[in-house]
């Protein structure tokens, strides 16, 4: 898998002494969608801001498509589009002018038809001559995205793109992300909505207190999520399970009074009926049963709790 972004030992200590990012290592593949999931204050914006050149790193290095973000900043930044978390736009400027401005800023020659396509994609074409201050909040977010796409970026950072936006814009945003992915654009989005990570991401990174706790294939996480555990409490303690039960891959709990069975809720047969029958024919008496499910939410909550 080719790397698009490589982050090595990246740290940020703000002037206040606040350690916002603590020796983060992260590799992002070309063409993938990575969702950075983390609570407020986890360091998501700080991480993105450093890659984009808005915050000075305290330590560590970052390269984008092989270009170092400090020594080769021109080549690195030309590839990057950023949709910031906070809406910041020139209030008196017209929509189309501010989008054309962005394209020029990134060193690209004017291209009317490309800008038109971007504005149409974001349902902004009818509003192109409207001064930004007359737009609704959702429309302003669309303008931010249009600006980020104005220079045909190969990497797109979306910092909490759907925080507080209406359903329609959220759906549009997801559609645009899918289209960009189809074009081979690498996308990094931060969010604290688990559903968003589930809907869009190829991989999910969980970040908390300035550290990346896990970066995992989403399907793998989903699989873990689809797994349930059945705990069977027995009336007697067992030292060793009989051979007859080997096919169930049972685990013996440390108290030796219960066995744990993992099964896939999405599978056609869970195997529970057979297991219970086999247990009783092996002479075990059952005291209680208990099931538990691990969701991405659980994994997430588990990871980020202090």
């Amino acid at each position: 898998m080719e790397k698009m972004i490589s982050v090595q030992g990246l740290s940020k200590v703000y002037a206040s002494g606040n350690i916002a990012l603590d020796k983060v290592d992260l590799e992002i593949n070309k063409g993938e969608i990575l969702a950075l999931l983390g609570p407020n204050g986890a360091g998501k914006t700080t991480l993105i801001s450093m890659i984009c050149g808005l915050v000075n790193p305290s330590a560590g290095r970052v390269s984008v498509d092989g270009y170092d973000i400090l020594t080769d900043y021109r080549a690195a930044r030309r590839l990057i589009g950023l949709v910031p978390q906070e809406v910041a736009l020139e209030p008196f400027e017209k929509v189309i002018n501010t989008v054309q401005f962005s394209r020029g800023l990134f060193g690209f020659a004017p291209d009317k038809s490309y800008i038109e396509a971007v504005l149409k994609k974001l349902s902004l074409w009818d509003k192109r001559d409207t001064p930004i201050r007359e737009l609704s909040g959702g429309m302003k977010r669309r303008v931010l995205i249009a600006k980020a796409l104005s220079h045909e970026p190969r990497v797109l950072f979306l910092d909490e793109p759907t925080a507080g936006v209406d359903v329609e814009l959220r759906k549009d945003m997801w559609r645009i992300v899918e289209e960009l992915k189809a074009d081979g654009v690498t996308i990094v989005l931060t969010t604290h909505y688990i559903e968003e990570a589930e809907a869009l991401a190829d991989r999910v990174g969980v970040i908390s207190h300035g550290r990346i706790l896990l970066v995992e294939n989403k399907d793998q996480l989903m699989h873990q999520m689809g797994t349930k555990e059945l705990t069977i409490h027995l009336q007697q303690s067992v030292d060793k399970l009989p051979e007859a039960l080997a096919g169930y891959a049972l685990r013996l709990a440390p108290d030796k009074q219960s066995v744990i069975y993992s099964y896939d809720t999405k599978a056609e047969r869970t195997g529970i009926t057979g297991l219970l029958a086999d247990l009783s024919s092996a002479g075990f008496l059952l005291r209680d049963l208990q099931t538990s499910q691990s969701s991405l939410e659980d994994i997430f909550v588990d990871l980020v709790k202090d």
Partner: protein, 253 residues
Amino acid sequence: MNLHAVKAIYFFEMARTFRTLLQSIISPVISTALYFIVFGSAIGSRMVAIDGVSYGAFIVPGLIMLTVLMQSVTNASFGIYFPKFIGTIYEPLSAPVSYLEMLVGYVGAAATKSMIIGLIILATSFLFVPLQIAHPVWMVAFLALTCVSFSLLGFIIGICARNFEQLNLVPALIITPLVFLGGSFYSISMLPPFWQTATLFNPVVYLVSGFRWAFFDTADVAVTYSLMAIALFSLLFVAVISVIFKTGYRLKP
């Protein structure tokens, strides 16, 4: 060299200027007219000619300088402070743009605006006093250099200012006194010897003197000194700005 970016910043800033051009022009033109009425006609009629130039004409270069300096500092400081204030500065800072390119865009736009205003005031002056310009090319050159060097200073002020009060205070506290003590309305040679020496540390003296030389062919300090002084100030300002960008002072946390 990212020429597209320089053009983008320059024209974006000029568009801001043209949206408010009428306001930007009316106020300096009115105040200049008032100066002419008060100093030129009312007081000037009782003043002797300085270096063979009627007082009304003598103050024209100083008046233009006064407005152009204030405009340069105000335009340039506001031009960079505003994007910082509303947050849009994130874009040029994350773009493949060097600080020199940013500088050319922002400072170039601010300097152009003050240049336009300076020329409009010059045109207004012709309505009040008879004027000839001895070295027209040098006149324009001095005007342009002044616009650029004080727009550079304004850019520094705009980056360093923490709020709108500071943004307004610095020009009022520093620029206005420098201009009034810089020989805008009198010849340095009219001052007592101590103050003649003291004023040589005032950058505005060199600007006004050089500018006045371009009009009347008489100067308080030699023209070459004026040119050297402007070049020196500009270099100093650029050096300060390069340090600001290298460290990210007040731009990047």
